[in-house]
Amino acid sequence: MPTLVSNYVPPGVNITLQAENGMLGVGPFPKSGQVPARAPAPASVLPASVASRGCLARRRPSQEDCDLINAGKQTVTEMDGSSFFSADQSFAMIRGAHCQVTILGTMEVAANGDMANYLIPGKLVKGMGGAMDLVASGSRVIVTTEHTDKKGQRRP
């Protein structure tokens, strides 16, 4: 749910969204089917495996590119001035308190603002990811979650 935010930034509002997998300037999800044309690279210049991945193709904003994803592995688009970087730089931004607001999903929130994101006993939970770094970074933390569990029951 938190990754939907990039779809709802109104025109005229200028914020830079960071995806912790290594991107600043995350744009909305692409309109499906708008796949960029493959790079017209001669096979003699580039190995076929590189040319066929599409990452060298010219991307227009709003085009779908399977290599351009957010932290939830959903395809996103670039905004003007967006940039890409490695995980160590991404977490230097987060741990170095350079992000003002954190928006993340969670399993439960307690009345005192404590958050459960780590494990369900007996179940494998994937992708807790950078949540620990984000909540410890001192930024304002907004949790977005479905109100009830999958059965419509309240969360204890």
Binding site: N112, G113, R140, T144
Partner: protein, 57 residues
């Protein structure tokens, strides 16, 4: 240490009050009442004086 500042769900927007003063409902989702939100919320919460419907873009 205080962790979460705000909780946003389809039923409402809550602020986590400082100093362990619990949750406060400040916006309410479409088709919900304070009672229905209370029934589906595990934690107790207070309600802000000027409760408004959840704002949409």
């Amino acid at each position: 240490m205080r962790v979460v500042d705000k909780v946003i769900t389809e039923k409402g927007v809550f602020t986590v009050l400082p100093d362990g003063n619990g949750l406060q409902l400040e916006e309410i989702g479409e088709g919900e009442t304070v009672e229905s939100v209370r029934a589906s919320t595990g934690a107790d919460f207070t309600v802000v004086d000027n409760l408004i419907p959840m704002r949409q873009l």
